[in-house]
Amino acid sequence: MNFDFSDDQKQLRDQARKFLAEKCSPKAVRVVLDGKAPYDKELWKGLAEMGFLGVAIPEEFGGAGAGHLELCVIAEEMGRANAPVPFSSTVYLAAEALLIAGSDAQKKKWLPAIASGEAIGTLALFEGKGNPSPKNVKLTAANGVLNGVKKPVADGAIADFAVVAARTGSNGRDGDISLFLVDLKAGGVEVKNLTNLDPTRGQAEITFKDCKAEPLGAAGEGWSILTQVLDRAAVLCAFEQVGGADRALEMGRDYALDRIAFGRQIGSFQAVKHMLADMYVSATLARSNSYYGAWALSTNAAELPEAAAAARISATQAFQHCAKNNIQVHGGMGFTWEFDCHMYYRRANTMALGLGSLSYWEDQLIDRMRKKNAA
């Protein structure tokens, strides 16, 4: 058994960490946080140059052809750095949807552009409140033309294309949903930026008005493809969350060592020590669940649905827990805009909802465990 990343993968992680430490300092993140740029274009370019954007894209489509484990270690570092770039939308959602269901022509058109940093992609799934579910898809597709409103769409305002879930049937079944590929620069869409909890990752409302679109995957297969995409993204996001949780834990630990109160390092008070120990515990559980998700993702194992849900829940909880208590360890300073704690708190609470809420994934996990037991 080797339930760990390989030395090469660990080296890649170190490389990504070093790169991000240099190119994605908290100061750089703040440029986007403060609304001075919609995302960090320089960093995005650099990620492309490093080959990180296309790490899981096959070489024939311009990627590094490495694999999902390599993508996992990079995702962890993206989370740790709180990178203000459309990585998850483009790489976990759009690229994975193309890899699963794209035609050769579609892959050729978009995947190399993703890998080179020229194209930003996203998934347009949600239509207001609610979790991933066929019945929440009201946007219609008829004769290759889309009509409806998607909201929120992560990175929607900066995306070049979107994978759009649309209703093509009315049988009340999963088969009613089909996916479409839309070039967002080609007209027929209206994009509005939305105020949101984490300004380092934009959210938009996209209105499709008689918008031309090409099918992605077979008609009626949309939900089945989406489920796969969301499972993969759940694992990849879990690694971002684990990275974020670890960073929040480290920040809290460092502060507890540096800060003196009552003549002692505050980390010598059990209240603080034990809070940090509990953060370590949840971060560790999340990491281990995510590793299992990575294994299932990389081997396309039958365990993926269950593993993805477990990784998602565990990592969401850990990031929220660590981000929240990192602020508490910092006391009043943690509650200032100046300290970086709130960036992780915002990111943790945003990531908790991006692929559907914690409650949704709890429900999914139990369904999947039951299916496994029944099988």
Binding site: L194, T195, Q203, A256, G331, S357
Partner: protein, 414 residues
């Protein structure tokens, strides 16, 4: 056991109610009622102006600072009458936010330690809201360890010269006066070298800079002191006795912050009562119900705990540190409640355009404000210490800095 007023209380309540009904700024009532943690403001008016006007009106009619003596601008009312007033004032009480520090902390400190002529001069305009006061205790190096402060006061003839920095000063930017805790002797153990003053916030050398909070709002300030001069007659208490003086203030702080603390539960329950989830009404979802029930009993437990404290007041007893549980319970709870309210919305929980302001925006504001509640006026950890030590009689933490001269205490952990 009953919730009835005594005849005197009933009479007082009727008088208060009638006056409020005739005089309160009703046009803001609905808006004030709906405001929750993280967002108390008015859409079409400057809340500070509205607040000052209301306070002045109250003062003119003898309804300001009810428990203060009349000669200092109060009404000489009993503690229970003060509570009854608060109940009747209802949402308009939210307008008092800017006066809480002055009325709850600075005033009592002045009353206990200032010269008579100062009391007569400064307290009435404080009561009437014409002058706003702030409290200058916390420092970057202090935090929970309030007595670890470093702002120096050095004697120069009949004056003291102040240099240093304070932080977390609520309302410093609109305050006229402040009470200031300083270190006058760094060579003795930390609690022994402190001295308290009050000062004019417009004094030369005082600079106020707003702190941008994690939520983006700025309710607090940093205040810098550069050779600020304070006459010795503005000293409160003896030189070196500042710690004891400050205890009067802090005791009052914890009481007043604990009082009207938000849990977020009423908002969540209301929200869930009408919310449709993917599979049906939220209020019929067992998982939602279980969470709601658990928060419901915390919220009601706090409500009835505060009623027990009011009953004690009504009987002339003084409520104890048991009240610390309010902020401790509510702080984490409101954070969890806000997180869950967003969860119920799914991915849409993160956005807060104008059309989402009533729901997502409301709970997002709570989420971003809540971490502050767990820290201000004593962190969760300090609150647990207070309960453990003062209520349960457990030993204090081991104090390594107790007998060490202040300037020998390390300032950096590594």
């Amino acid at each position: 056991m009953n919730f009835d007023d005594t005849p005197q209380e009933a009479e007082f309540r009727a008088t208060a109610r009638a006056w409020i009904s005739a005089n309160a700024p009703k046009q803001y009532e609905e808006e004030l009622r709906k405001s929750s943690l993280g967002r108390t403001q008015l859409k079409n008016a400057n809340i500070l102006e509205v607040a000052k006007a209301w306070q002045k009106k109250k003062a003119d009619a003898g309804w300001a600072c009810l428990h203060w003596p009349k000669e200092y601008g109060g009404r000489g009312a009993s503690p229970i009458e003060r509570v009854i007033w608060q109940q009747e004032e209802g949402p308009f009480g939210k307008l008092s936010h800017m006066f809480i520090i002055g009325h709850g902390m600075c005033g009592p400190t002045m009353m206990a330690f200032a010269r008579e002529e100062h009391k007569r001069k400064y307290l009435p305009p404080l009561a009437s809201g014409e002058k706003v006061w702030c409290q200058l205790f916390s420092e970057p190096a202090g935090g929970s360890d309030v007595a670890g402060l470093r702002t120096r006061a050095e004697k120069d003839g009949d004056e003291w010269v102040i240099n240093g920095q304070k932080i977390w000063t609520s309302g410093a930017h609109y305050s006229d006066y402040g009470i200031l805790l300083t270190r006058t002797d760094p060579t003795v153990p930390k609690h022994k070298g402190l001295t308290m003053f009050f000062l004019d916030m417009k004094s030369p050398g005082v600079e106020v800079r707003p702190i941008k909070q994690a939520s983006g709002a700025s309710d607090f300030n940093e205040v810098y002191f550069t050779n600020v001069r304070i006459p010795d007659h503005q000293r409160l208490g003896e030189v070196g006795d500042g710690w004891n003086v400050s205890l009067t203030t802090l005791m009052n702080e914890r009481m007043s912050i604990g009082a009207g603390v938000s849990t977020g539960f009423p908002e969540l329950f209301e929200y869930c009562s009408s919310l449709m989830l993917d599979d049906g009404p939220a209020i019929e979802d067992r998982a939602v119900r279980s969470k709601l029930a658990n928060w419901a009993v915390k919220a009601s437990g706090l409500r009835y705990t505060s009623m027990r404290a009011i009953s004690a007041l009504s009987k002339g007893e003084r409520p104890g540190p048991e009240n610390s549980i309010g902020k401790l319970v509510a702080g984490s709870m409101i954070q969890d409640v806000a997180t869950y309210a967003l969860d119920l919305q799914g991915a849409a929980g993160v956005v807060s355009g104008p059309e989402d302001a009533e729901v997502a925006g409301r709970f997002q504001a709570m989420l971003l404000r809540a971490p502050g509640t767990r820290v201000e006026g004593g962190t969760d950890e300090i609150m647990r210490n207070i309960i453990a030590e003062r209520v349960l009689g457990l030993p204090g933490d081991i104090r390594v800095d107790k007998d060490v001269p202040f300037n020998k205490i390390p300032t950096k952990g590594r």
